[in-house]
Subunit: 211 residues, 2 copies
């Protein structure tokens, strides 16, 4: 538990720095392959030239995700966690020092794909945003409850695939609200565009409030 | 590292017990929602009356997966890991004592949905079997390499969805072989049946060899 106490102290320092800079930071969490990077790339395309964005990418190995972000035109730091299965506040604090963070801008942190540990590690973000892909089944909020309890917003992603699945989106939302009655939910498709306007508006509002 | 050494000792004890009993044990690992339980339920349907099967289910919370297994007619123990993100050899050893394990039978262990930590924890199984769903993207073997290196068999699952995805199955297989040249790969659909004959034959062969 010392580990978490130390991490919380570093998260407080990160949050203070971000507040002083006027930067809105989110911590994007999900299972592997739910669509975090695809969502970020599409977000960058829609916000290009309007809001300054910096990205921190967390993965066990490779810089593939940071490469995708840089190709989309935003500065990105790749953190490789090796045997570790989550980002922590120290990693994020160090990466922040290497990024251009601007007033009224966004810091988008994509965590390691993992529905368990990242729920316990505060990075200094304003909000955790959980992505649940409709291909994963309705029951994930019940089976991996800590993550959905820790998230303020859930994107129910890949909704373009619903016609090909026996997935009950209402049931999935009901399970999420059972675990976290206050959670906000947006049904999205990062590749086909549904829900993206609501998501972008939510980010714009956060950035404006952080200024 | 003491943790892993202690775990390895318990895994050795589990493996010895399973060898003495003549039971073929596998450790099923994947991201959350890749289809582990669906695969097991379909496996039980196809092996009913032919091979004795027992199941250990690992999840943070709920007994939903064990309930699905029991409804399919097999004995199942649900292990809830709470904040933990993986099964370990002690949990499995304790669950084994509460299951009817028979010579020439199968012990199917479904781990917590997580592509990171479970790779490091030997449970005493004969093989780790990784499931990669075609909905997760081709790059998972490169980004979460430890798991695919630890697996002897990979099921590329949900292949029934391929017509609706921009997923390159050959590329996914090439990435898996890049991190683990010896990995065996079966393209499957737990809900539509493709690849299931090859999977069942692989289990039958394992059970026969363990006798
Ligand atoms: N149909 C559909 N596919 C999507 C959508 N979003 C992402 N994908 C696909 O899902 C796969 C994984 O997407 P990524 O964006 O790499 O997922 P991720 O969450 O960043 O994955 P990791 O960082 O490895 O955990 C890719 O094949 C994407 O094309 C969506 O809204 N609809
Ligand atoms: N189209 C399709 N859907 C599948 C297939 N296998 C599983 N599913 C669906 O994928 C979702 C998740 O399946 P589960 O079997 O619960 O996955 P799991 O890996 O056991 O999930 P956790 O135990 O929570 O990690 C469900 O909606 C299943 O119906 C498949 O081969 N094809
Ligand atoms: Mg990604
Ligand atoms: Mg399951
Ligand atoms: Zn972790
Ligand atoms: Zn773990």
């Amino acid at each position: 538990q010392d580990l978490l106490a130390r991490n919380d102290a570093e998260a407080v320092a990160n949050r203070k720095t971000l507040a002083q800079l006027g930067v809105f930071a989110i911590n994007l969490v999900s299972s592997p392959g739910s669509g975090k990077t695809t969502l970020l790339v599409e977000t960058l395309r829609r916000l290009a030239g309007e809001v300054p964005v910096a990205v921190i990418e967390g993965d066990q190995q490779t810089s593939r995700d940071a490469d995708r972000i840089r190709a989309a035109g935003a500065p990105a730091i790749q953190v490789n966690t090796g045997k570790g299965c989550h980002l922590d506040a120290r990693m994020v604090g160090q990466a922040m020092q290497r990024l251009p963070l601007q007033n009224g801008g966004l810091l988008l942190i994509e965590n390691v794909g993992n529905l368990v540990c990242p729920a316990a590690f505060d990075l200094g973000e304003a909000h955790k945003v959980a992505i649940l892909s409709v291909t994963e089944g309705e029951d994930k909020p019940l089976k991996y409850p800590d993550m959905f309890r820790a998230a303020d917003l859930m994107l129910l992603n890949k909704c373009d695939l619903l016609p090909h699945l026996a997935f009950d989106a209402d049931q999935a939302e009901a399970f999420a609200r059972r675990v976290n009655p206050a959670i906000r939910i947006i049904r999205s498709s990062a590749t086909h565009g549904s829900g993206m306007d609501e998501w972008i508006d939510w980010l714009r509002a956060g950035a404006a409030a952080a200024r």
